[in-house]
């Protein structure tokens, strides 16, 4: 068990430094890279905040689409299992199982939700999709 500051508090300190001190004093490509680095750290913070919630939800959705399994206890085992089951679902899509019907609808709900969770971490602004012509 580590002492304070927490990981989140540390990351807040670093992003604050980047935003307020580093980036405004950089120019050209360095300033651009500074902004990219800041964005990466913000994604990391959102991931830390939501990772468990999203992994659990993804597991439950996969249980609806594939033979149900018990959720692995550790987070690393859970991540590995989700990736493996997603591979399995990919094979089903390639076989045509999700071409039509209610299974397609279920798969689409799952994929939309999983992609939404990735965007909520990496680029929440992108979720807003204007009706364009």
């Amino acid at each position: 068990m580590q002492d304070r500051p927490t990981v989140m508090e540390y990351l807040q300190a670093v992003t604050h430094f980047l935003d307020e001190e580093a980036v405004p004093n950089l120019t050209g490509s360095r300033q651009f890279y500074g902004r990219v680095a800041d964005n990466v750290l913000r994604a990391v913070m959102r991931e830390i905040e939501h990772e468990e919630e999203y992994l659990f939800a993804e597991w439950e959705r996969l249980n609806q689409l594939l033979p149900a399994m018990e959720r692995p206890a550790s987070q690393s085992a859970l991540r590995a299992a989700i990736q493996q089951r997603t591979q399995e679902l990919c094979q089903r899509i390639r076989r045509g199982d999700a071409d039509t019907g209610s299974y397609r609808e279920q798969v689409l709900v799952h994929v939309r939700e999983s992609v939404r969770e990735k965007l909520l971490v990496n680029n929440p602004q992108w979720l807003k999709r204007p009706v364009s012509s």
Partner: protein
């Protein structure tokens, strides 16, 4: 085949500095300058040549771009100053996506046919130790965010989408059979242009993806099931988007980056221009963040482009988003392999998800 697309796919505006930190050995300006003087003197039979303002614009892993002016004193005593660009392969590292000779010949062909491109001046020889050519330098703006906001482009903004359509029609009508362009990529094994592109990107996806992407699986499936029946086969630019077009206050000045040119369905270029990532935040204007699809299509057709079949152009917009998504996976590889520690290459890996979101919506439309 896979490497053809890897490096030259990044938006000029954002990723110009992408590979500047690469360790590729290269000539510096002091070494390059006298070599250029000799080469241009030989090529123009000039009395005297001076190279000035030589500087590196982009030092990519796949090629380098230098800017300079050549003061040429001709034998008849006439003087002229040529604003020039040198494009060359790097001295080490991965070979370029398209060889310089073919790129130069494509430029010659489209220039002769009245397409807005920099005038191709000289195809290189072995004097720089790497393949190269020299073309005209066109002044202007390529950075989308400036084009969207800068007051000096407010007039041009009114007609950018139309001009992009008009200029594209000219490219697609280039009588490519009149030019000797062997080596121009074309569909293989009797495949249609659409199937050729699908196969190529399926292979790239299979090689590059480190994790499963359900949205891409659904998109490949969709594309296979919706392949257009009828397709023309013409000269396609292959990377026609904001970032690769130079604008002046009056509008389109020049179309750059022909490295991904190939024989394909003309509507591929129309779909690619509408990929959401090229809107750079101007999402309500789907054509590169500057206009509406209908205006772009109408101008394209009226300028002699091919009929814009709505189903087919939708197919190519979906393909375009998938293509960019797979290219994001590809661009992040040097970071994942530990060859390049750029934070930007790290960040681009997770931009893949943006195209997944777009694909899920477009497939349902």
């Amino acid at each position: 085949m896979i490497t053809r697309h890897i490096f030259r796919f990044v938006p000029r505006s954002v990723f110009v500095f992408c590979f500047m930190t690469s360790t590729t050995k290269q000539l510096n300006a002091e070494q390059l300058s006298p070599l250029l003087v000799d080469f241009i003197t030989r090529s123009t039979h000039a009395q005297q040549v001076q190279v000035i303002n030589l500087h590196l614009l982009t030092g990519g892993a796949s090629r380098q771009t230098w800017s300079f002016d050549a003061r040429v004193q001709h034998e008849n005593g006439r003087n002229e100053t040529l604003p020039l660009i040198l494009r060359s392969d790097p001295h080490e590292g991965p070979q370029s996506v398209m060889d310089r000779t073919l790129e130069f010949h494509i430029l010659e062909a489209v220039y002769a046919e009245g397409v807005l491109v920099p005038k191709p001046y000289f195809l290189g020889d072995d004097s720089l130790g790497v393949p190269f050519f020299i073309m005209e330098r066109i002044e202007g703006e390529t950075i989308p965010r400036r084009l969207f906001r800068d007051p000096s482009f407010s007039q041009a903004r009114q007609s950018m989408a139309q001009q992009l359509g008009t200029r594209l029609a000219r490219i697609h009508r280039v009588p490519i059979e009149n030019y000797h362009l062997s080596g121009l990529p074309a569909p293989q094994n009797g495949r249609s242009p659409a199937e050729e592109e699908i196969v190529r990107f399926e292979e790239m996806y299979a090689t590059m993806a480190r994790e499963p992407h359900l949205a891409f699986e659904l998109a490949f499936r969709w594309l296979r099931q919706h392949m257009p029946a009828k397709q023309e086969q013409v000269l396609v630019h292959g990377d026609y988007r904001m970032g690769n077009v130079i604008f002046g206050p009056e509008g389109v000045r020049s179309i750059l980056d022909w490295e991904l040119a190939h024989l394909g369905d003309p509507l591929e270029d129309l779909g690619w221009m509408c990929v959401r990532s090229w809107r750079f935040g101007n999402d309500e204007l789907p054509v590169g963040g500057v206009g509406k699809r209908e205006d772009f299509w109408r101008a394209y057709e009226e300028a002699g482009g091919y009929p814009v079949d709505l189903t087919r152009v939708h197919f190519w917009e979906i393909f375009g988003n998938l293509r960019w998504g797979i290219l994001c996976l590809t661009l992040t590889q040097p970071f994942l392999d530990g060859q390049n520690s750029s934070v930007e290459l790290a960040a681009i890996g997770r931009r893949t998800v943006e195209t997944e979101w777009e694909l899920l919506h477009l497939m349902e439309e």
